[in-house]
């Protein structure tokens, strides 16, 4: 046994030294514990909660779109999808190989999926397959072995029961883009309205997104659902369109390129608005490949363009009513005054031809409208002058957008002296006034504007704002044009006769449904210059010309003639004469409309005859 006294002290000293060091370190640990668990506790509690709870927003069910009678134009359906969240997949290559095997994906599909994975953020699900049938979906659910990050999802998809006839109006939904985010703000879900009502009423249709709180574990697997707010379904939207009429008009335009607009002359509600040719909304909604898309974009007849509000056409003779009104308003002519039409009108070394080369003879205003005499309006043009014509055109809304509740509308052009100076840097020539008076030259209008103009002529001089959605209250924004009823009556009489008198340009398109007749005006717009030689040797008929050189065929009108309710404008690109193509289309559509709306009993023949005498 040995005792080491001096050494004992040395050992104790070292013990104390080491013990103090440990005590110091334990104090640091306790301090750290205090910092984490007391000082910063709330911070870490928040972080733990953020770890635990995965808050995801779920898009609300999109509002449905119906026609005025509640027929579905855009509906929702279940979309069975297989999706993959890249960041939850350990080995993307291996997983894709397995998926390609199980789902029988083609190499091209796998390539596309890879591209989507590479492009998007890794937390964003990538659709592997969608639009699966229920059978396939349930089968894949069984077949899919456990592949982490791959999930079967029942999503929503948009379906359009009538994919063609309402394509331009309803529009479609598609994958959101950066631009959409700027326009609409935050978008929950993948899809957003890309065109038409789907786009312009996005915020109504979208509804309020729901929120889902789920508890997830470290690998992101959902452990349980904590709470869930399904959000608020988007608002159902009722369009003013009558689907039956729309379908009919669409059918009637088959083979043509052009537009039909049918409008309630008092409310401005569009009962039908067709642009032809159309396209398959479902195809665009599903997403189409580049070649299909380019085919649509590059198509000669521009199927993707809503010609009713984006197509610009010279109004042709449908513009004559406004020249007549401008003349009457400033008492530059009396309705009864006769002007002789010889077929040619000479002015400043130029010859202006009436469409009827042999001439119409003596014409008053109603005659001139009935038979669409150009010479009469050449004379009138010089009396009225471009300033008055320009002012009247602008009063009727030309040169400006109508204000329809759809984006992308065009305003067209109303030429005038200032306009010419600004755009061509040259003075206005009187010859140009003459051309403008018959709706040609620089004048450009949309079919929608023509319908609005016609409505104003028929409703006693109120300029209404067209609407594609249903107006519930009686508020229809309208501007009083301050036209004299007797002046309007002259124009209306001319329009009545143009359709209903044997000499009228559109006599072949007259109709009689339950006592209702149509009033209207044809228009034929030259798109090429007719040379002197051609005039001498006989103008080449449209049927012998290339399609793009043929005349545009126009018709505007309203029904019923005696108690106007609906206005119609028909524009057929390169269709030929207004009377031959546009007017019959307008008649057929009006017949359909009147059969639906005019349930009144057949009128007394006497009343009918009284009308005849009055007009």
């Amino acid at each position: 046994m040995a005792l080491y006294d001096t050494e004992e002290q040395g050992f104790s000293r070292r013990l104390v030294l080491l013990g103090s060091l440990q005590a110091g370190l334990f104090t640091v640990l306790a301090g750290r514990l205090q910092f984490l668990q007391i000082a910063r506790s709330d911070v870490y509690a928040t972080l733990a909660e953020a770890n635990r709870v995965n808050i995801s927003q779920i898009s609300a069910i999109r509002g449905r779109i119906t026609d005025r009678n509640g027929k579905l134009l855009a509906d929702n359906d279940r979309n069975f999808q297989i999706r993959m969240v890249p960041e939850r997949v350990a080995d993307i290559d291996a997983t894709l190989r397995d998926l390609a095997h199980i789902l029988k994906l083609s190499p091209a599909e796998v390539f596309n999926i890879r591209r989507k994975i590479a492009r998007g953020p890794s937390f964003k699900p990538v659709v592997i397959l969608e639009d699966l049938s229920w059978d396939d979906f349930s089968r894949f659910n069984l077949d899919l072995p456990y592949l982490s990050g791959v999930e079967p999802v029942v999503g929503q998809k948009r379906v359009y029961p009538d994919a063609h006839s309402v394509a331009h109006l309803v529009g479609f939904v598609g994958a959101k883009t950066r631009e959409d985010l700027q326009r609409v703000g935050r978008i929950v879900g993948d899809n957003v309205g890309r065109s038409g009502v789907e786009r312009d009423y996005e915020n109504d249709l979208r509804g309020t997104p729901g929120v889902r709180h789920v508890e997830v574990n470290a690998v992101g697997r959902t452990v349980r659902e904590l709470q869930s707010d399904p959000g608020e379904k988007g608002r159902d939207l009722s369009l003013s369109i009558d689907l039956d009429l729309q379908k009919y008009a669409n059918e009637r335009l088959k083979g043509h390129s052009g537009s039909v607009v049918v409008m309630d002359i008092h409310s401005g509600e569009l009962v039908s608005m067709v642009s032809a040719p159309s396209f398959d909304l479902n195809m665009l909604s599903r997403g189409i490949d580049v070649t299909e898309w380019e085919k649509l974009v590059d198509h000669e007849r521009k199927p993707l363009v809503n010609k009713s509000m984006r197509g610009l056409y010279a109004p042709g003779s449908t513009f004559k009513m406004l020249v007549a009104l401008a003349a009457l308003e400033d008492k530059l002519i009396e309705p009864d005054e006769r002007i002789d039409c010889t077929g040619v009108f000479g002015f400043a070394n130029e010859e202006f031809h009436c469409w009827r080369s042999e001439g119409h003879g003596e014409m008053n205003m109603v005659d001139a409208l009935e038979r669409s005499c150009d010479t009469y309006f050449y004379h009138l043009a010089l009396r009225v002058g471009i300033n008055r014509i320009e002012a009247m055109a602008k009063r009727f809304g030309f040169g400006e957008v109508t204000g329809i509740d759809l984006d992308g509308e065009k305003g067209g052009t109303v030429p005038g002296r200032d306009w010419k100076r600004a755009n061509y840097d040259s003075g206005w020539r009187s010859g140009e006034t003459i051309i403008t008076a018959i709706g040609q030259g620089y004048l450009l209008t949309t079919p929608l504007q023509l319908a609005v103009m016609t409505a104003s002529l028929a409703n006693g001089g109120k300029l209404v704002t067209p609407r594609i959605t249903r107006i519930t209250e009686a508020e229809a924004p309208a501007t009083e044009l301050a036209l004299k009823p007797e002046h309007l009556a002259v124009v209306q009489r001319g329009m009545y006769r143009a359709v209903n008198r044997p000499d009228g340009t559109a006599y072949g398109s007259s109709l009689l449904i339950n006592g209702a007749r149509m009033s209207g005006k044809t228009g034929t717009v030259q798109v090429r210059r007719i040379s002197k030689d051609e005039r001498l040797n006989g103008v080449i008929p449209n049927s012998k010309l290339d399609w793009h050189l043929r005349d545009h065929s126009l018709f505007v009108g309203y029904v019923p003639h005696n108690k106007p309710r609906y206005a119609v404008s028909v524009v057929i690109e390169h269709g030929g004469g207004g009377a031959q193509v546009a007017a019959p289309i307008a008649r057929d559509i009006m017949v359909q409309l009147l059969r639906k709306t005019q349930a009144e009993p057949e009128r007394e023949l006497a009343a009918e005859q009284a009308d005849e005498a009055r007009l």
Binding site: G19, R32, R52
Partner: protein, 374 residues
């Protein structure tokens, strides 16, 4: 307390009430805390960890009691043979060891797999204590007196480092150096050693494995790789911090139950404990460890033999660095090195060696005046 040897009659077991009760009670309490946390980690289930930990604790208790019965001379005589045996096992691991997670640490003896590096810590301290017991005081700071202990520490440490297990190797070396320090080796060597170690850091850096470099870098800046290597530290801090004052309750810790925490039943077990029992429970646990270590140091101070003094204090120091390094790591104060929390982390070898160590201390404390050869 008397320095009279407490022992039962010859051939009989020493009665439990003759043993140092606080030391025994605190170690068993810590082991039971381990059972509780492991029960909680499994979502309130004794399977798969808690029941095994409980069984090991029982075995460990028996081992401790058995060792506490040993005569001090027996322990003294066994010090070198145990060290030699464990050293051979370490070499065997090098040759035959199972590779687990990229490191050879376990030796499969057929019926049980053991981790010799864990036993080595215990054996090394005892062998060093035995060495200094016989070394004359004047020779402690002499070249020969220095080289032998350094070799005893260095060779096993390098073997463990080669497994590779940096954490255990550092712990082993630190534990051994602790004994050297307590033995009274001149302070100059320690100061010089620290300076040399700091100077060697840039050189040593190049010898670290990539994952080890990454761990150090991530420790310095956890946000460097929040989903990768920094994930452990971040999630562990979130777990501890979100526990607050009183914790979320047993088996209620979202960080652990939802598996955000890594190594929840082994190295990071304290994070779960702290999340579920809060500051109050965590402070209590740290206090228990501190108390245990203080008890060991005070017992060591009462010992008369160099062997007992250095063994008890050296073991207390080893325990303290395990606790300190593990807690510092879990609380984001030290890089992630694979160091378990004594008595609590799941792992048989660790628990058994600590219980065995307590047993040795109990035996020494019981026989302060026993005759030892010089």
């Amino acid at each position: 307390m008397s320095y009279q040897a407490r022992s039962g009659r010859l051939g009989q077991l020493v009665s439990l009430n003759l043993l140092h009760a606080p030391l025994m009670v605190i170690s068993i309490l810590l082991g039971l805390v381990g059972v509780m946390v492991l029960y909680s980690v499994a979502g309130g289930d004794f399977a798969p960890w808690a029941w095994r930990h409980a069984v090991r604790l029982a075995v460990g208790f028996l081992l401790m009691y058995a060792i506490a019965n040993l005569d001090l001379r027996t322990l003294f005589n066994l010090a070198y043979p145990i060290f030699g045996g464990i050293f051979l096992l370490l070499v065997a691991v090098e040759v035959f060891g199972d590779t687990n997670m990229g490191a050879q640490r376990w030796l499969d003896l057929g019926f049980v797999t053991i981790q010799p590096s864990e036993f080595m810590r215990f054996a090394l301290i005892m062998a060093l204590a035995r060495y200094y017991h016989t070394l004359h005081r004047d020779d402690v700071s002499q070249p020969f007196g220095l080289l032998v202990p350094l070799a005893m520490i260095g060779v096993p440490s390098l073997l463990v480092l080669g497994q590779p297990d940096l954490g255990t190797a550092l712990m082993l070396a630190a534990s051994g150096l602790g004994v050297v320090f307590l033995a009274g080796v001149s302070m100059r060597y320690f100061i010089g050693g620290i300076i040399a170690a700091v100077a060697a850091v840039p050189v040593g850096w190049n010898y670290l494995r990539d994952y080890q470099k990454e761990r150090v870098l991530v420790f310095l800046d956890p946000e460097r790789d929040p989903l990768g290597a920094g994930y452990h530290i971040i999630q562990s801090k979130i777990g501890i911090g979100s526990g607050g004052l009183f914790g979320k309750g047993l088996a209620q810790g979202t960080q652990s139950q939802l598996k955000f925490l890594p190594e929840r039943h082994t190295d990071f077990v304290f994070a779960i404990y702290a999340e579920e029992l809060g500051f109050v429970g965590s402070f209590l646990l740290i206090f228990m460890f501190a108390l245990l270590i203080f008890l060991m140091f005070s017992i060591a101070n009462q010992m008369r033999h160099r062997f007992s003094q250095l063994m008890i204090a050296g073991f207390g120091f080893a325990l303290s660095i395990y606790v300190i390094v593990n807690l510092a790591m879990v609380m984001g104060l030290a890089p992630v090195v694979g160091v378990p929390l004594p008595f609590i982390s799941y792992g048989g070898t660790s628990l058994l060696t600590f219980m065995a160590g307590i047993g040795v201390i109990l035996a020494m404390e019981r026989q302060p005046l026993a005759d030892l050869p010089k």
